[in-house]
């Protein structure tokens, strides 16, 4: 069992958004992923039974694109492999390529409560920036 990620849900009428702070870029990306899965399901019930290595390619120097590609890749893994994820470890980010290891387990409707379907992270009001050593993230999802 793991704790709930720390983020704020944005009041968006039609969709759902999240805002959070992090100490560095890898943890900003990890926390954004954790927040997204907390919107999707009850992450505290997701055990880390399987680990999946991921490589995500984005446009070099385009952090917003990196954030969107990363979250999009995770949604693809979630939906195409029918798994729920709760562990996110960003190993490296270099020249637009992100290496990560994510963990979770196969979706079991008996144990996992799916709260909401996320279709995609959007660029609308997207934020990933560093100011005075703190990273801020904001993502609005199409739901």
């Amino acid at each position: 069992m793991f704790g709930r990620p720390d983020y704020r849900e944005i009041e968006h009428t039609a969709d759902v958004g999240v805002e959070l702070q992090a100490r560095d870029l890898p943890s900003a990306l990890e926390s954004a992923a954790a927040a997204m899965f907390d919107v999707i399901c009850d992450v505290e019930s997701v055990e880390r039974r399987l680990t999946i290595p991921l490589t995500v390619d984005a446009r070099e120097g385009d952090l917003e694109n990196l954030l969107v590609r990363w979250l999009t890749e995770l949604l693809y893994v979630h939906q195409s492999r029918n798994v729920v994820l709760s562990g996110f470890e960003v190993l490296s980010v270099s020249r637009g390529t992100l290496e990560a290891r994510v963990s979770g387990e196969e979706l079991d409707p008996e144990r996992h409560t799916i709260k909401l379907e996320i279709k995609a992270p959007t660029y609308h009001e997207l934020l990933l920036e560093e100011r005075e050593g703190r990273w801020s993230v904001r993502v609005i999802f199409d739901t």
Partner: protein, 484 residues
Amino acid sequence: MRFDASQLRRVSESVWDIPRHGGMRVPGRVYADDALMAHIREEKALDQVVNVAHLPGIVGRSLAMPDIHWGYGFPIGGVAATDPAGGGVISPGGVGYDINCGVRLMATSLPATDAQSRIQSIVAALFSDVPSGVGSRGAIGKLSSRELSNVMEQGAAWAVSRGYGTDGDLERTEERGRLATADPSTVGKRAVERGLDQVGTLGSGNHFIELGVVDEVFDEPAARAFGLEAGEATLLIHSGSRGLGYQVCDDYLEVMQGAMSKYRIELPDRQLACAPVDSPEGRDYLSAMACAANYAWANRQVMMSLAAAALEKAMGLSAERMGLRLVYDVCHNIAKLETHDVDGRRLRLCVHRKGATRAFPAGHPDVPSPYAAVGQPVLVPGDMGRSSYVLVGTDRAMEETFGSCCHGAGRVLSRKRARKEARGRSIAAELLERGVCVMATGKGTLAEEMPQAYKDVANVVNVAEKSGIARRVARLRPLGVVKG
């Protein structure tokens, strides 16, 4: 930068203009009365009307239908037409992730009282026989990639050829359930993979199947033409292109990010990323989007058959005996090439409808022959507790909104607020008290989709009627609802 609401100019009781300013290429227009506008002003939907007006090649106005609310990129309820011959663009964000999300209405000759007496069994049958919920799959078995190509090319006709429905259904489907620009070679591997086992599935969120009753008829001749009679049961299905559509949108949004610099396009919101319609990127998206749109029509066509079988089972009557027939199927997330008159010129335009419904008038060549004398049915679902409406397109819509109207009620509460307000309540029990039996797959769905989370659709359609962009034909009242 937030839109300064003092720039709104009132044109009439239910029409507001946003004059061109900054980088806007055309003015904006919003259809709303005072009550709706009070809510619209609170969020960022008007900023989005302004942003859309920046699209290269946009003509006429950046429009917002009476159910406008804050979306991402385009506002929900947004309509924009661009002129491909004048560098006009196509934007995946102007269509959305759920490509050809739409609504299908069936009428019956079944007295609603008969359906009401078996409503629990009907809802249970619909719930068990049409897969619903996040990632729902397996309604008709997994297709081969080759068969999926046929679905993407043929749309609703593919479903009919496999025994789901009849040829007559195609005539009563927008575009006959198929966009001819579809080219499966433009659809990526991931989209194909996600589409293989989701034909005939409802999905989640605001998607639903609703058994209702024609509660009131406002326009007798039009209702007669549509086959709607007061007191008779109806079946309404709201769904789209599922994971295949989301993936097509994702893939092409990425393509458009590159196209923006290639074609030197600058816009206030990256989610509006676009390319000229007449460019390799624009043409490919149009073809891939058409594949997803056709998939959605096949999906709703199959679901109609599954729902009809469920109704037969619960009522112990054949579909024929119940007089079950398709009234119409509309899409409300789409971009289409259509011919419109703009400033006295007849132009072939790319019309984006993001949460907006086509509303063509009587006599338009694209209105199916049974409805030629009255106009195209416009299906406007409301929340699951109050009502839904059937409207009909008008000449005024053709002149002002590129033949478009609203698509629903529009949310008034965020999902978070709705969950908070539903705490400690049983929404299912409350609805049952109001005579509506509901079942949902998702745990939070009923709370997030409760009637109070939506505007009253009656107010939205009143604005559509007052402003002349549609006329009310009939009101439907829900008796039983299945949610994803």
